[in-house]
Each structure stands twice: as C-alpha cells, then as structure tokens.
C-alpha cells in the first residue's frame, strides 16, 4: 500500500529529475552553469526530511531525532553519498544529495542519518585527520563506515559493511573492533592489491582490473575516464572514497572545541533511554576527556592549608611595633595531611602506590606531615610517611567499610587535610561530622560513587585504569547474526 510518504518521495524524485535535466541543458550552453534549486523544492524536500526525523523521534531512536534537531540542513548535489556532515558556524551541518537520498526507503533514510550522527558521536571527523598522512583516504573512509554500519540495520545496498569488506578484499576482520583495527586491515589489503595492479599494469595498461575500484576512481579524480565523471557538480551515485570529502570543508576550529561542541550536542540529545551501543560510545567519549583530576584539587587545597607561625622580618611584632629588633610573625603552611586508605575496597596496590606518590609530589613543597591510616570497618594501622619508600605493604584484613572511624581519628588529631581513597561503598551517613579540615574523596576506578549522602568535601574519581577482562561474557555471545539485536541486553 502506498503511503503519503511514498507518494511524496515519488513526486520529489520527478522534481529532482527536472532539476537535473535543466542543469544538463544549461551546461551544454554554458560550462560554468550552476545547479539551481527552486525554493519550493527545498521546502518540500525538507518537509520530507522532517518526516524521517519524526520517525527518528520514537523510543530509543529519539537520540538521533534530538541530535538532528540541533543540526542545520542543506541540499548539495555534489556529494557522492545520500548524506554527509561537516561543522560550520558552531553547528554540525547535515547535507543531503536528493538524487541519492530519494532512492532509499524510509528505514534506509533513517539509517543514513543515523550513520552520519554515529560518525559524529564516534568523533570520526577529528580522528580521521590523524591518519591522513599514513593511510589512503579510501581505507580511512571504509574503516569508519565499517565501524558505524556495524550498528545499523536497513542499510542501503551499496553500504560499506564488514561482510562486504571481508568478501571484497578476502579479509577476516572481526566485528565490534575499533576503527584503527579495521583501518590497518583494509590498508594492508589495498596495498597488496595495488602491488598486484602495478604488476598487471606493466603487462598491459589497457586491461585494467575492474575489481579494484579504488584504483579506478583515483584515476578518474585525476581527470580519467570521462563517462564516470562527466559532471563534478552533480553526483548521482555512491563513491566510498569520496564519502567523507565534505569533512575537509568544516570551519576552522580546534579539535578540543569541536569535541566540546559534540559533547554539548550529545548531552542535549540524550533524553530517556538510548541503545546500549550508543551509551558505550558516549561514555568512551566522555572518558577520553577525563574530569579534573583529583591531584589538581589536592594542589588547590594545599594553598589553603595552614598551621604554625613562622618568624618574618616583613612585619613588625604586633605586640611591640616600635621595637624593630623583634621579628613579626607570619602564618606558615605546615600541612598535617592524613591519607586514609580503605583496605576493604578494590583499590589495587599499584593504584594506591601511584596515588601516594602523587600526593607526596604535590605536598613536597609544603612543610607537611603525612600520615597513612588504613581502615576497613575500624582503623587497622596508622603510620607516618616521609617518602614513597616508607609505604608499607597493606595488611590483608578485608572486612566491610566504615568511614566514621577515620573521621573520628581526624577530628582528634588536628588534621588539616584528609584524603580518603576508597571504592565509595560504606555507610550512608557519617556519625562524626568532620571539624576544622577539608576532605577530598578519591574514589577508585571501579567504584562509581560515594555511598554517603553528604560528603563534606569534594568527591573525585581516580583515573580509570581499565582492568582488562578477557573472560567471555554471556552478552558477548552472538545470538542473532550481525544485527542490532545482539547489542541489546539479554532478557533471561
């Protein structure tokens, strides 16, 4: 049954055809002719895009819908893929080539938009630049498309998928691997083909091998076969190696800012639940930046830690200001720092040693005293440290965690600063309220947050040192081919 949507697509295809033909006619008379897009066409075309976007507003796809809402849209006939993105004027711009786009069905249209958004979310626009010097554009483009398309259903028939790449270049690349992995594989395959090609070329230049698309097209770009590239301003079919050319056209903006913009777009688009694969992409994006590290906070805190007085000649004695022979006093900063270590927690010895070294590095410029308090449900051991080699190996009593004993200790020992390393799982309310010192919580990479409702201080996470876990998980087991289904959690 024909829907309203399908009818609209049909109409638009006819109109595109007219535009295309008028252009060709004009071109015959005047080589400089430009494609003219009537306003009414633009309007109709975008109202169609609105409907695709509406269809993206549903359920878990609404991330894409909201993301698309923040992007500008433009029509361009000179791109060789249905859609393309770049970044202009503080916004991502989504470009459509109606000739290619209109030949897709609704689901495929959705997918091609999702495809572009996934490129953005995976920061491919930024990452591609790194590899441009050493790898061919074709390899980079294909590798990126493989990564993105693995997550999508309803792809257009010519989409570069993992199966396609594996088949075409006789590779055995695995699914759900990072971009760099595919890039390496594809580039190697391309290099091999090129070597073969060169050998073949020496024998017979005209009998070029049609299986190697890349060769063929790089040829056309340099002004080769005219039938393929009759027209540079209108593209009618998909070319994988040109698919991301538009990225070059982005406004001049440094990577950090671009990443910040991407994060902003993402956070505005994140409403309700999103598919798991997107969630992991987004969290890896956020991790790559990392938050202000805890040691920076410690540095800041050190400036405000105070204790004894020191004699100074810059001030007069407050009691005897006329007697210049008496020295005045200034507050000095001798820090009495307590580092509490939750030995029940899952902080590894290496993590802790590393952290303590950093603490020592930060406080070395201050007159300080550093005490380590090991604690689980009660205080197990207290000792002073002067340098990293004084750190004792941990005793292995691993009970439950309670924070209160440490705070009781700190309250009684004139502490200036308490740094608490823990996995964050303990009581939810302190029985003793910290008095007269600041607290910095450092939550180990594996813990997620502090169980206390009121932290009485800053809570920071230890940098994520990802512990590689290679054991097979039930969710890793493929159930249903390379489709979106195996990205979802199992409902058992």
């Amino acid at each position: 049954m024909e829907t309203f949507f399908d009818n609209q697509v049909q109409e638009l295809i006819e109109k595109t055809d007219i535009i295309f033909k008028t252009y060709l006619k004009a071109k015959r008379n005047d080589a400089q002719a430009k494609v003219t897009i009537p306003k009414s066409f633009t309007k109709e075309f975008f109202s169609l895009v609105d409907q695709v976007s509406l269809s993206l507003m549903e359920d878990k796809d609404n991330f894409y819908g909201y993301f698309l809402m923040q992007m500008s849209r433009e029509i361009r006939f000179d791109i060789s893929s249905p859609t393309a993105v770049n970044f202009k004027g503080a916004k991502y711009v989504l470009h459509f080539n109606p000739i290619i786009f209109l030949n897709l069905n609704l689901k495929q249209m959705e997918s091609t938009i999702k495809h572009e958004i996934l490129h953005i979310v995976s920061l491919h626009l930024i990452r591609a630049k790194e590899f441009q010097a050493d790898y061919s554009t074709l390899a980079i483009n294909m590798a990126m498309n493989v990564v993105v398309n693995t997550y999508l259903d309803h792809l257009p028939p010519y989409a570069v998928t993992l199966e396609w790449v594996n088949l075409k270049y006789s590779l055995k690349l695995l699914p759900f691997k990072p971009f760099e992995y595919y890039l390496e594989g594809i580039q190697t395959a391309l290099d091999l083909l090129e070597a073969d090609e060169d050998a073949a070329d020496e024998r017979d230049t005209d009998d070029s091998d049609d299986t190697d698309d890349s060769k063929d097209k790089t040829g056309t770009a340099n002004g080769g076969t005219p039938d393929r590239d009759q027209d540079e301003t209108i593209e009618t079919e998909y070319h994988p190696e040109k698919a991301h050319d538009l990225w070059e056209d982005s406004s001049d903006i440094d990577e950090k800012t671009l990443q910040k913009f991407t994060e902003k777009f993402i956070s505005h688009a994140q409403k309700g639940s999103i598919p798991n694969y997107l969630e992991s992409m987004i969290s890896s994006l956020k991790n790559s930046r990392g938050e202000l590290p805890w040691n920076l906070y410690l540095k800041k805190l050190m400036g405000t830690v105070e204790s004894h007085k020191k004699k100074t000649i810059t001030r007069r004695n407050r009691r005897q200001p006329d007697r210049l022979d008496l020295r005045g006093q200034l507050r000095s900063h001798k820090a009495n720092i307590v580092v509490a270590l939750d030995i029940s927690g899952s902080i590894s010895d290496q993590e802790f040693h590393q952290a303590i070294k950093e603490v020592l590095d930060i406080v070395k410029n201050y007159n300080h005293e550093l005490t380590i308090v090991e604690c689980d449900s009660e205080i197990r051991r207290v000792y002073n440290v002067k340098s990293a080699k004084d750190i004792n190996d941990r005793i292995n009593i691993r009970g439950g965690t309670r924070f209160t004993p440490v705070f009781e200790y700190a309250n009684h020992h004139k502490v200036n600063l308490l740094v608490y390393f823990t996995d964050g799982k303990g009581e939810d309310k302190l029985l003793t309220i910290p008095k007269g010192y600041k607290t910095l919580w450092v939550i180990s990479g594996r813990g997620d947050k502090l169980s206390l409702k009121e932290a009485y201080g800053a809570v920071k996470k230890l940098k994520n040192i990802v512990a590689n876990d290679d054991s097979l998980n039930i969710n890793d087991v493929k159930r249903d081919g390379f489709s979106m289904n195996d990205q979802e959690g199992m409902h058992v």
């Binding site: 049954m1 024909e2 829907t3 309203f4 949507f5 975008f46 109202s47 609105d50 409907q51 695709v52 976007s53 509406l54 269809s55 993206l56 507003m57 609404n62 819908g65 909201y66 698309l68 809402m69 923040q70 992007m71 500008s72 849209r73 004027g89 503080a90 916004k91 609704l106 903006i253 440094d254 950090k256 800012t257 910040k260 913009f261 902003k264 409403k271 309700g272 930046r289 938050e291 202000l292 906070y297 800041k300 805190l301 400036g303 405000t304 105070e306 007069r316 407050r318 009691r319 200001p321 006329d322 507050r331 600041k438 009485y456 201080g457 800053a458």
Partner: protein
C-alpha cells in the same frame, strides 16, 4: 533568588538591623547590588575586601599609650595602656558619619580571607566593635561571599569555611542571575545589541559553568560587549581570529565559537514569549516568522518560550486554557518532527504545561496526527 528579589530581601534584613549575607557565584553582580542599594537609599558605600586583609590589620596595630592614674596611696602615677591604630576604612566610616551620612559597610569575600581575619570581621559584625573602635550607630553592614563546597558547589573557590557560630550571625541570601533582569539591565547599560540578542537566544549561557574551561558570567558579557564595540570600529585592523580569542578568554571556547558565529550570521532575534502570548490569539505575523526560521532556531525559541510558560502557568492557573491553546496553535506551525520533539520535551521537563496540555484535546489530536504522515 534573582537580583531584584535579593535586593528587596537585603533591604528588609537591613531595616531589621540584622546582617544579610549574599551568597553567589562570582560575576553575577553582588557588588553591583551593594552599589545599587547604597545609591537608592543615598547611603555612602564603604567596601572592605576580606581577601586583602592580613591578620591584625582591621584590628589595627597596637601601641602603648601612657596615662596618669592613681595608686593606692592616692598619688598620681604614670600608667600604660595598649591602644590600637584604626584601619583606614574604619576611619573613612567615621568621616562619613560625622557628616551625618548613613554608611553601608559592604564586607566582600568574607570567606576568602584567613580564618583569623574572619574572626576579626566577625567582631565587627557581631559586636560592632573592634579593639576599642566602635562602629557608629548609622552604619549598616552587608556581607557577601562565593559559595563553597560546604554548601554544594564544587571546590573551585579557595574559600575558608566559616564555623557554625559565625554562620549563625548572618541572614543568608543566595543569589542567582536571571536573564530577564540582565536583559533589562543590559539595554539600559548600553550593552551592544548583538550581545543582548545572543543572551536572549541562549539564556543558559548568561551564567554557565564550563567544565575545565572559563566560566561565563554576566560580568564576562559586559567585557565582551566592549571588545565587540572595538572590533566593529576597527574591523579592518582586528582580524576575526583575534576577536574570537578575546571572546574565548571571556567565556570559554564553546560559547565563544557560538557567539562569534552568531554575531556574523546576522540573525534577527528569535520568536520570543511575548511575541506569542501578548495578544488574545496567536498573531498572524508569527506564521511568516516560523516559515523563515531554521530548525535549530525554532527549537531554541520554543524551549525558551516553554521555560517562561512553565513559570507563567504556575502563577496564573486561571488563564491556562488560553496559554495552552495558543501554544498548540503555535506548535502546529512547526515542522512535524520539531513538534513531536517538543511535545516529548513538554512531557519530560515541563510538568505544569504538560498537566494542562493533557486536558486539551487539540494537543492530543495534534500528536497523533503527526504520525499519520509516515504511517498509512
């Protein structure tokens, strides 16, 4: 509380003789508020910055003074006593009050000084006396500080928290910037039109805490306004990148990019709340405006309008029917995907509007109508 509310609260607290303490992020106009209140009441303003004081300064240095006393044999003897020098700010107060003026003593940055300085200032606040110097009758005290981690904000300010006894001396007033009021102020203060339009388009950017980047505060936009003025005057000699860098130095990278491209794009101002709801029905002119706007800008303006509408409906339940009907009429002008997106937003983030919208059949009908486009 916004500026106006804080101002009124400060007034009230001062009139009861208590000491108000304004807590607010940097750059949102605490000092401006003190100036404003002094000006309104024709008081003279004297500012003490806590962070500049060292221990003992406000108390004054002690010297010895001899005086003639009487000993137990009724003979006159010379005795000694410590007297303290008076800090020049306190002397200023004396001078002002001696002319019969009322003085507003504004103690700024009260939590960015050393603990001991805090104690001294507290003596002023609590006993109105320090080391023999007595604050005259006509002196009103107002204090201000940045929020500290103790009260929920992050560790960004190097503050020294007050203890419970000190905290108890004040009437705490927390102050937040309000873009409506800022816009009103900005127009009067002669802030550049483009900057004003930028804030009315992106109200959230007026006060924005950028992680690991500069914060944008009302104060930064004041500075941007003057550099923009310069940039326009000397466009030939100042390259765009220089201007961009200056803006970056005020509000951080992200907002800077956004602002500079906004300035360049030469946008008209967004459709605003007043445009939609000022008349008895949706004005005809809106129709054309919506047609000519881009998706992103329509989305922004709808979100700004919804934010205001949520507040209006909360106060004015009587007229809710009018508001919702106009809103639906307005949203129906929107491209279909935006409309659905906004309806979903209403459901998630604007509970008051949503509650009233649900009672409206046109709202529901319009929602389902949208999906009929893509389903047969």
């Amino acid at each position: 509380m916004n500026f106006a509310d804080t101002l009124k609260s400060v007034d009230l607290v001062l009139s009861t003789g208590e000491v108000p303490l304004i807590v607010g992020e940097s750059g949102i106009g605490k000092t401006a508020l003190a100036k404003e209140i002094a000006q309104q009441n024709h008081w003279s303003l004297i500012v003490i910055n806590g962070n500049l004081l060292k221990e003992g300064e406000i108390g004054g240095l002690p010297t010895i003074e001899s005086y003639v006393g009487v000993n137990d044999k009724e003979a006159q003897v010379e005795k000694k006593a410590t007297v303290y020098a008076v800090h020049h700010k306190l002397r200023e107060i004396d001078e002002e009050t001696s002319q019969g003026k009322i003085v507003l003593l504004f103690i700024d940055e009260i939590n960015r000084c050393e603990h001991t300085v805090q104690q001294e200032l507290m003596n002023l606040v609590l006993n109105r006396e320090i080391n023999g110097y007595k604050l005259p009758e006509g002196v009103k005290i107002l204090a201000a500080m940045n929020p500290s981690s103790k009260y929920g904000s992050d560790f960004d300010y190097q503050v020294v928290d007050m203890d419970a006894a000190q905290e108890n001396r004040f009437v705490w007033l927390s102050m937040e910037p309000d873009y409506h009021q800022w816009l009103d102020w900005a127009i009067d203060a002669g802030i550049e039109q483009k900057v004003i339009e930028f804030i009315s388009t992106f109200p959230d950017y007026l006060h924005k805490i950028n992680e690991d980047d500069l914060r944008a505060t009302p104060r930064s936009y004041e500075r941007i306004s003057s550099s923009y003025k310069m940039y326009q005057e000397k466009k030939s000699s100042i390259p765009r990148s220089v201007f961009l860098n200056v803006v970056k130095g005020n509000v951080g990278r992200l907002i800077a990019e956004e602002l500079v491209s906004f300035v360049e794009a030469d946008h008209r101002s967004l459709i605003a709340y007043q445009d939609v709801f000022s008349e008895n029905s949706l004005p005809e002119s809106i129709r054309d405006k919506v047609k000519n706007e881009s998706h992103t800008r329509l989305y922004l303006s709808a979100k700004n309008i919804l934010k205001d509408l949520e507040a209006t409906i909360l106060y004015d339940r009587e007229d809710s029917k009018f508001y919702i009907e106009t809103l639906i009429e307005f949203l129906n002008l929107y491209p279909v995907d935006l409309k659905i997106g906004l309806m979903k937003d209403i459901k998630n983030s604007y509970p008051e509007v949503y509650k009233h919208a649900l009672e409206n059949e046109a709202f529901i009908a319009s929602y389902f109508e949208a999906y009929r486009l893509i389903r047969s």
